[in-house]
């Protein structure tokens, strides 16, 4: 074990700094506010610190470590040139309040990304400001809210979400001040139009939906759903978490959506970084554009009076604030560093982003078929079912382990832990909530056929393992099954210094 707080090296260990610009003794600290006790931080030298964090990194599973079929999260390879670019001084050493003529390069990239994202989703205007998918949802709902206020429809206070929706959808709507109406899905996991018709009305502000949905299934009735909500005067919101599946094949604009968010950390390969940073731009149709958070980037022909810049001889990029803007959701320009990474990613594909989606869907359907066939061969087809019956899936699919749970008490959690012992990250489990003992598998387009073939074999191997083995899994990981209940009942949220002293 390596513990950060057990390093008690020399004073000044770690990182030696230059002297202050005036003698230390002459610096005046307000007496009533002078710190009485130093933080109990470690004293750790650079070699020890590097080894500590390297040790920690080796106890952490990333895409670089192995197959990471975590459904809904789109754990695709993160091209490394994107990281190199994000560390260039022209982004890493930029201050958000620098004047426009210092920021022309960054603004050129923002402009290109606004355009690219609008084209991909069939939207009119894009803001890059929201820093996460959930913040994108919230931002779009705020725009919708102000839009309705601007046309005097202040009674629209309800947001409809399917029961298969990501938890952020209802949470974001609640944060904006909406009441939530959760509607049940059909037995095939798709939206139930009769239920939708029954719940829409004069109080409907919006419906939030992801398509393909969280079961990985394309909502074939999406246009009808859009019509129902629009006829009632509501807005349609597209949760872009699953956008990776449909790029270049269809888009939310064509399906009738009014607003979308993009998860740049899913579709456009911003690394997930153990939980963030993400980036959640939103795109809207023109009627919502005046409400977007600013500033956005526009371009105009260069004037003789503009300062000289190097990015483009003919174009001047400038900020503008939409006239009825909701204000800001992040104080600066959003996660600009993530935008730059994703710019590098999109440039790699260009119009071939369609091929990216094709391969994401190809891999998901292929893996699904390989798992079914393998289970059939090994006589284990009875242990699970499709999460919902469907001929085709898009970028991900769900399986239900309910049958197995009934037979021998082995559930999705045990299978997940068994897969860890095979060297895989486990799929998403117990989500979406509409599938009993759910496992949600998303291979992404960056996994080879060999990886998928091997996973299918290992997955079915795990299904066939003894109940005792699976209950005891994982055996090979850095720690064995972790007691989450103990963690909640015996809260230890920071290093217990007192015990040591």
């Amino acid at each position: 074990m390596s513990h950060l707080f057990e390093h008690h090296g020399a004073i000044g260990a770690g990182y030696r700094q230059p002297e202050p610009v005036i003698p230390k003794e002459t610096v005046i600290i307000p007496p009533a506010l002078a710190r009485q006790k130093a933080p109990r931080w470690p004293r750790i030298s650079e070699p020890e610190m590097v080894r500590h964090y390297t040790w920690l990194s080796r106890r952490n599973f990333g895409i670089d470590t192995g197959f990471y079929p975590l459904g809904s999260c789109t754990m695709k390879h993160n091209p490394r040139v994107n990281e190199v670019i994000a560390q260039m001084p022209g982004i890493a050493e930029m201050h958000p309040l620098q004047p426009e003529h210092h920021l022309q390069g960054l603004m050129a990239i923002f402009h290109e990304m606004q355009d690219m994202l609008a084209i991909c989703a069939g939207m009119d205007t894009v803001t890059l400001q929201p820093v996460a998918g959930a913040q994108g949802e919230f931002t779009a709902l705020r725009c919708i809210q102000e839009y309705f206020r601007s046309i005097g429809q202040t009674d629209r206070n309800k947001v409809i979400v399917p029961d298969s929706a990501h938890g952020t959808n209802p949470a974001s709507a609640a944060l904006a001040g909406y009441e939530i109406i959760e509607i049940p899905s059909n037995s095939d996991g798709r939206i139930n139009l009769d239920v939708l018709r029954a719940v829409v009305g004069d109080d409907t502000a919006a419906m939030m939906i992801t398509n393909p949905n969280t079961l990985g299934i394309f909502e074939e009735d999406i246009c009808e759903a859009t019509k129902i909500v629009h006829d009632a005067g509501g807005q349609m919101y597209y949760d872009g978490a699953n956008f990776n599946a449909i790029l270049g094949r269809t888009n939310p604009g064509l399906m009738g959506f009014d607003a979308v968010h993009y998860n740049l950390h899913k579709t456009f390969s911003q690394p997930h970084g153990g939980g963030g940073p993400g980036c959640g731009p939103i795109g809207v149709k023109s009627h919502l554009a005046p409400f977007l958070p600013g500033p956005l980037v526009r371009k105009r022909p260069i004037l003789a009076t503009d300062p000289l810049t190097l990015v483009n001889d003919e174009v001047w990029y400038h900020w503008y604030h939409p006239e009825k803007s909701i204000g800001k959701v992040q104080q600066w320009h959003g996660n600009a560093g993530a935008v730059v990474r994703c710019w590098a990613y999109y440039r790699r594909y260009g119009y071939e982003l369609k091929t990216m989606s094709d391969h994401a869907v190809l891999n998901a359907n292929y893996l699904r078929r390989r798992i079914m066939d393998e289970a059939q061969d090994k006589g284990l087809a009875h242990t699970f079912t499709d999460g919902v019956p469907s001929k085709l899936v898009k970028h991900e699919f769900t399986l239900s382990l309910a049958a197995m749970k009934g037979q021998n008490g082995i559930g999705a959690m045990d299978i997940a832990k068994g897969l860890l012992d095979k060297g895989y990250m486990a799929p998403t489990i117990y989500f979406p909530l509409v599938v009993d003992e759910c496992m949600m598998i998303e291979p992404t387009e960056t996994e080879s056929k060999e990886v998928l073939d091997e996973f299918a074999i290992r997955f079915v191997e795990v299904l066939g393992e003894d109940a005792d083995v699976l209950h005891a899994a994982p055996q090979t990981t850095d720690v064995r099954r972790v007691d989450e209940v103990y963690a909640a009942r015996n809260l230890c949220l920071s290093y217990p210094f007192d015990e040591e002293q």
Binding site: G12, V21, V27, A32, L33, Q36, W41, R43, M49, S57, G62, T65, L70, V81, E83, A86, Q87, H95, Q98, H101, H102, L106, I119, A132, A134, R142, H166, G167, A171, I222, C223, T250, L254, H272, G274, P277, C279, I326, K328, Q331, W332, G337, Y346, R348, Y349, G350, Y351, E352, L353, T355, D358, H359, N365, P474, V479, R480, R481, V482, E484, Y486
Partner: protein, 460 residues
């Protein structure tokens, strides 16, 4: 493109397994009237070398603040991130992992974040911290809504919060967006002519759900009045303090003078400026707020063999469990940037953070002294204590002055007319640990020239 897709060229073989002959077959479930037939209206795919060349050209057209003498701050600060930090966060196991839902294979990030929580708790003087929110502005907003959840039942001023009138408009705008949905009324705390808090307005805030002030405040002033706030507002109103975290190397931890929730822009600790994002927001609180706080929290626990282990805990507050009743919609946070913060804090140690704070204060103090020597420039809060930044009053528009300095290769500071449109002659001058004595001399020399032309009426 091909270099990213291992199955490129093998589509037919894979499709055959499924009894299909074309990739189009995979999209039969997309209704025909919404299918796209034509090519996406985007450029051709580029190679890595071409992308890199374009990035160099386009981003090279920016003027990197790092390449200039600069006095621009106002919330984001030029800092130094040790090389080992930059190297370590690029370890693929950190970079390419997801939120640690499977703790058995995520002990590294979980432990690192538990250590981050500890480092923050120690710095701010509170027992609880989460593993980051988006940035300082969402941290402030989340703290305020959290305060309403905890205190509204007992509050005599229901659904009411008091926020410093100095809060920068863009930050206030974020706060307004986050609080409007709950029907919260925002009122403002006044400041005196010396820039410190007017304690009468704190008295007015007693009985509300919470007060939000910053230390140092947005004008760079270290406000000694804050030590009396908690005794005035009492236990039923949350005292929320926004901090510049490096200042706590010399300044008392707000938890030790009554702060209930401490938030802040973590950026100066470990994160490059990156045009304002990704950075990370600090969120820490006392135990009273624990079950109402936003974001992810790591706890130490045991595995089935009784060995030490870590996992996410108190998840029932969160959106993936509680859905519309969650304490926040937070899902993705800023873990990787918080990790940079942890590494930087670890390297600094208790003496290093003090030295860093002193370097910041020293530069600010030297700049005050030097600019005070210029007759034509006034320092409105000259007798106050400052950290990082202070206001100067110019004999002309700050925007003119900044343009003049820019031509001399200096990023002068922040034009306060952006925050207070009627104050056109005020500039916020920021010095950090990265500001040298020579930088300050250069600024003083140019400011003296510019100011003298303004007062003599002769254009420079």
């Amino acid at each position: 493109m091909v270099d990213q897709l291992p199955n490129f060229g093998r589509e037919a073989e894979m499709l055959k397994t499924m009894g299909m002959s074309s990739l189009d077959d995979l999209f039969n479930d997309v209704p025909e009237d919404v299918r796209i037939i034509e090519k996406l209206n985007l450029p051709s795919p580029q190679t890595e070398e071409e992308i890199l060349a374009d990035a160099k050209r386009i981003l090279g057209a920016n003027v990197a603040l790092g390449d200039r003498v600069s006095f621009l701050g106002a919330g984001i600060y030029k800092n130094f991130v040790p090389a080992s930090v930059m190297q370590l966060i690029n370890r693929g196991e950190f970079l390419t992992s997801y939120t640690p839902y499977q703790p058995e294979v995520s002990q590294g990030m979980l432990q690192a974040m538990w250590e981050f929580q500890t480092l923050i708790c120690e710095l701010v003087g509170l027992p609880v911290a989460n593993l980051s929110v988006y940035d300082g502005s969402s941290a402030a907003a989340e703290a305020l809504t959290c305060a309403v959840r905890v205190h509204n039942r007992k509050a005599s001023q229901k659904n009411t919060l008091y926020v410093s009138e100095l809060t920068p408009p863009d930050r206030l705008s974020v706060i307004k967006n986050y609080t409007q949905g709950a029907g919260i009324t925002l009122r403002y705390l006044r400041h005196l002519s010396d820039g410190c808090l007017d304690m009468d307005s704190i008295t007015e805030a007693a009985g509300s759900c919470g007060v939000y002030v910053e230390q140092p405040n947005p004008l760079g002033i270290l406000d000694q009045n804050l030590i009396d706030v908690k005794s005035i507002i009492g236990e039923d109103t949350a005292f929320i303090v926004g901090v510049q975290p490096t200042s706590l190397g010399v300044m008392e931890a707000p938890g030790n003078y009554g702060a209930d929730i401490v938030v802040g822009e973590g950026q100066p600790l470990g994160s490059p400026m990156t045009a304002g994002g990704p950075i990370y927001g600090i969120f820490s609180c006392s135990e009273k707020y624990l079950r109402q706080m936003p974001g992810r929290i790591v706890g130490k626990t045991i595995d089935v063999d009784g060995n030490e282990a870590f996992c996410l805990t108190l998840s029932t507050r969160e959106q993936h469990i509680r859905r519309h009743r969650a304490t926040s919609n937070l899902c993705t946070n800023e873990t990787l940037i918080a990790l940079m913060g942890a590494m930087h804090m670890a390297l600094l140690g208790p003496e290093g953070i003090r030295d860093l704070a002193i370097r910041n204060m020293a530069a600010c103090q030297l700049a005050k002294t030097k600019l005070l020597e210029i007759d034509t420039i006034a320092l409105p809060h000259v007798n106050s204590f400052h950290y990082n930044e202070f206001i100067i009053e110019l004999p002309g528009d700050a925007s003119d002055c900044l343009e003049y300095l820019d031509k001399k290769g200096i990023i002068g500071g922040f034009d306060l007319a952006n925050w207070y449109p009627d104050r056109k002659n005020r500039m916020l001058i920021t010095c950090t640990d990265q500001t040298s004595a020579a930088d300050i001399e250069l600024l003083a020399a140019h400011l003296a020239v510019w100011s003298s032309t303004k007062t003599s009426g002769v254009e420079a």
